[in-house]
Symmetry: C2
Subunit: 441 residues, 2 copies
C-alpha cells in the first residue's frame, strides 16, 4: 500500500477531534476526486468525520472544496432572482413536480436539478422518465436556454456538477458513513450552490420514511445548511415536513406524476371526484408560496393552480424536454395486481411510510443497487388515507407491477402497514417547523 | 462498488456504539483476510473501533477471530511450562536478545517470535540478521526441533501465524487507525496466543520513545491484554517500563547485539572497563527473574549471567540458527562518522528517546517504508548517559553509518537531543509499574 503521510496526518487530526483547515480538507477532497487518495483512506476519513463531527467552518470548507471540483451554472444572463429547491427525500414526495411549474408560471426562473432514487425513497428523475420521451439529461447551455424560453426546467445534474459528491456518495453508501449531518449538508449544498440559484428552498423530511428520523437531527441539518448558504451569500428557507406517513396517495413513478397532474389541473378536476390529498396539496401550496414570497412575487400558488397557468407551464416544461404530457394518462389503463383489504372495521389511524416505501421498492418501483432497473409502471395507490372509515375488506391500498407470487404475498404483508383503530385520529400535520433565512429574519 | 449489506450493518453498529457479537466480528475479520471485504470497508470499520472502542468481550472476540485465521504452534510435545515474551517496542530495546538465553539457560522452553522494525523503534529480527549467517525464518517444525535441542529460539513469525494481523496492520498503518487499545491488544495477543506458550511476559514501553506516551494508556493496554490472556487460560505478567530515554547505550542493529553480548559475558567483562548500562542490566535481570519465577524455576538471572551459562546458551541459539557468534566482534573495527561533543559543561540531565530513534533511522539503521533497506552497521553509541559529568567537547554520542553530508549535519542536530544542566539528576527509573497476572494474584 502506498504511504501518504499528509493524508494520514489529516485523518489522524480528525480522528483526534481537531479542527481541519480549508487546505487540509481541500487536499483530501481533491486527492480523492482525482484518484490520488485511495478509497480505504477516504472511508477512514469519512468515518472519523461521522464520529467526531465538523464545526460550521469545517463544513463550509468541505462544501467549498467539493463545489470547486466541478463547474457552477452561470445563470447571470437570466434577469431577476433565480430559485432552486431541494428535498431530502421521502416516500411519495412529488412536490418538485408541482412546485417548479407553479413558480415558473409566476415568472420566477427556476432550474431544478434532481437525483435518482435509491432505497426506499423515490427519485424525481425516475418519475419524470415515466413520461414518454422526457429527457432529464440537459447540458448547462440547454438548461439556460430552457429557462429563457419556458422559465423553468426539471433535469438531472450535468456531468460537471460536483464530481467529488458522486464519488464520495458512492463510497459513503457502502461504508456506513452516510449518516453525518456535516457530510449530508455539504453534499446537498455543494450541488445547490453549483446550480447557481440565488434563493434555495429546502424541504427537510422528518420521520420513519425519511433519512432524518427525529426533529432534533433535522433541525441541526437545517441550521448547518443555512449557515453554509449564508457563507456563500445565498438566501435559504428550510421547512421541516412530516414523513412519518407517505405524502399523497401515490407511491411509484408514473402514478406519482399522474397524481401531480390531477392536482395541477385544478378545481375543475375536483368536481369529477378525484380525491386530492389535503396534506400534499397544502405542502405544495405552502412551499410554493414561500418560494414566491422570497422571490418578491405577488402571485399566490392557489391562484396559479386555479387559473390553470401552473398546469399550462407543466405542459410547456414537459414539451420542452421532449415529453408527451398525454402519456401520463396511460396510468388509467394499468391493471392492479392486488387490492389489499382492511382486516377489520374502524378508522385508519396510521400508515407506516417506511414500510410503504419498501413495498413500492419490492413491487419494482425503485432500485436496490445503484444501476439496477426500474419499472415505471410499478407502484401503489393508497385508497384509505389516515382518517378513513373502513370496514373489513374495504380497500386500503392497490398494488401495481408485474404479477408475481411475491405480489400475492405482499397482499398479506401490506395489511400490517396500516393501523386500524376505534377512534377517529386527528388529521396529520404536513409542516412541522419553518426555519427562516438567517439574514432576512 | 459491491453492495455488502451485512458488513455495512456491522460497521454501522460499531459506528453507533453498539457491542458486536463474536459472529459479527469473525465475519469482518474472515471476510477481510480472504479478500471478500474490501480495504475501504475495513478501514471504515477500524476507524469506528478507534473512536467507539471495544468492550473487553469484543476485544476477546476480535483476538479469537484473528487467531483463528491462522495456525497455532503446538508446543504440547515439549514438556513443562513454555514461555514467551513481547515488548511493545522502544529505542535501544534489546531485552529479548538477553532474556531468551537467560531463561533457556535455566531449562525453561522459550519460543520467541519477533517482528521487524518500522519507524523510530528497531526490530529484533533486523538486529539478529546483523549476525553473519543468522536465519530468522524458521518453520513450525524447526522451532519445535530447536526448542527440544537448545531450549529456545529467536525467530520471525511463521507464514501461517495470524494472517489477519499482517493485512490489518498494513491497512491500519496507512489509515490513521493504529492507535486503538483494543486493536493493539488484539494484534499482540493473537500473535502471542498463536505462539503456543503458557506464560507470556509483556513489556509495555511508556514515554516519548514508545508507542504509549502516557502511563494511563499503557495501564489500560496492560489490563486489556491480561483480560484476553485470562480468557484463553494463559498466565501473563505486564511490566510498564520507561521509554522516555533510550534503553542502554547502543541504538542500531549489530551495535545492540554487541552491547547484549558484552552484558551476557558477565562480570569478567566488567573488569576490562566495558560500561554496562545499569538501567538495561536491571531491566533484563528483573524481567528474566519474573519469567523464571512464573515458570517455577529456582534459578536467578544474576547467577545465570555470572556463571556464564546465559552467554553459552546465547552461543548455542546463534549457532543453531546458522549464525557466527564471532561476527559480532566486527563492531570493534567500524569507524564512526562523527563524534558529537557537548556544547557546554554540566551534567547530562535528559536524552530524548524519540529524537535518538529518529537519528538512528536517518543514519540508516531502520526502515522508512515497509520493504525499505537497512544498514546493519549503522547506529549510534551514547557515550554520556544520564548523570554523566561533561565538559564542552566531551563526546555525548558517536554516530556510525555511511559517511555523507547528512552525517555531518546530524552532528549539529544531535547536540539538541541531550540536555546539559547544572544539577546532577536522579537516576532514571527503568520499571514504572508491574501488573501481575489476575489469576495468580
Amino acid at each position: 500500500m502506498q504511504y501518504m503521510p499528509n493524508v494520514i496526518n489529516v485523518i489522524e487530526a480528525k480522528r483526534d477531534g481537531r479542527d481541519l483547515s480549508f487546505s487540509q480538507i481541500r487536499d483530501v477532497v481533491d486527492g480523492y476526486t482525482s484518484g490520488e487518495i485511495p478509497d480505504y483512506q477516504m472511508s477512514a476519513f469519512l468515518m472519523a468525520v461521522c464520529l467526531r463531527g465538523m464545526s460550521d467552518d469545517e463544513t463550509i470548507f468541505l462544501t467549498r472544496a467539493m463545489l470547486e471540483t466541478g463547474e457552477t451554472l452561470d445563470l447571470s444572463q437570466i434577469p431577476g432572482l433565480k430559485l432552486d429547491k431541494h428535498s431530502t427525500g421521502g416516500v411519495g414526495d412529488k412536490v418538485s413536480l408541482a412546485l417548479v411549474p407553479i413558480v415558473a408560471a409566476a415568472g420566477i426562473p427556476i432550474a431544478k436539478m434532481s437525483g435518482r432514487g435509491l432505497g426506499n425513497t423515490g427519485g424525481t428523475l425516475d418519475k419524470l422518465e415515466s413520461i414518454s420521451g422526457f429527457r432529464v439529461e440537459l447540458t448547462a447551455e440547454q438548461i439556460i436556454q430552457q429557462i429563457k424560453s419556458v422559465g423553468g426546467c426539471l433535469c438531472g445534474q450535468t456531468e460537471k456538477i460536483v464530481p467529488a459528491d458522486k464519488k464520495m456518495y458512492a463510497l459513503r453508501d457502502v461504508t456506513g458513513t452516510v449518516e453525518s449531518i456535516s457530510l449530508i449538508a455539504a453534499s446537498i449544498m455543494s450541488k445547490k450552490l453549483a446550480g447557481g440559484a440565488d434563493i434555495i428552498l429546502l424541504d427537510i423530511k422528518v420521520g420513519r420514511g425519511a433519512f432524518m428520523k427525529n426533529i432534533d437531527d433535522a433541525r441541526k441539518l437545517a441550521f448547518v445548511m443555512r449557515t453554509i448558504a449564508a457563507a456563500f451569500g445565498k438566501t435559504v428557507i428550510c421547512e421541516l415536513t412530516n414523513m412519518d406517513i407517505p405524502l399523497g396517495r401515490a407511491v411509484g413513478n408514473l402514478i406519482e406524476v399522474w397524481e401531480v397532474a390531477k392536482l395541477l389541473r385544478g378545481p375543475q378536476q375536483y368536481s369529477y371526484g378525484f380525491p386530492i390529498d389535503e396534506r400534499l396539496y397544502h405542502l405544495i401550496v405552502d412551499l410554493s408560496n414561500a418560494a414566491l414570497s422570497l422571490a418578491g412575487s405577488s402571485h399566490t400558488a392557489v391562484t396559479l393552480l386555479e387559473d390553470g397557468s401552473a398546469w399550462q407551464k407543466f405542459g410547456e416544461i414537459v414539451e420542452a424536454q421532449g415529453g408527451d404530457v398525454n402519456s401520463i394518462e396511460r396510468w388509467g389503463y394499468i391493471s392492479p395486481i392486488a387490492v389489499v383489504g382492511s382486516p377489520n372495521d374502524g378508522y385508519v389511524t396510521d400508515i407506516d411510510a417506511e414500510a410503504i416505501g419498501r413495498l413500492a421498492l419490492t413491487l419494482g418501483a425503485g432500485r436496490t443497487t445503484k444501476d439496477g432497473p426500474i419499472d415505471h409502471l410499478a407502484g401503489l395507490w393508497i385508497n384509505a388515507p389516515i382518517g378513513s372509515v373502513v370496514q373489513k375488506g374495504t380497500p386500503l391500498v392497490t398494488l401495481y407491477g408485474r404479477p408475481s407470487p411475491t405480489g400475492r404475498e405482499l397482499n398479506k404483508e401490506a395489511k400490517a402497514f396500516f393501523t386500524i383503530g376505534d377512534e377517529k385520529p386527528l388529521p396529520p400535520s404536513s409542516i412541522i417547523e419553518i426555519i427562516p433565512d438567517e439574514i432576512r429574519c
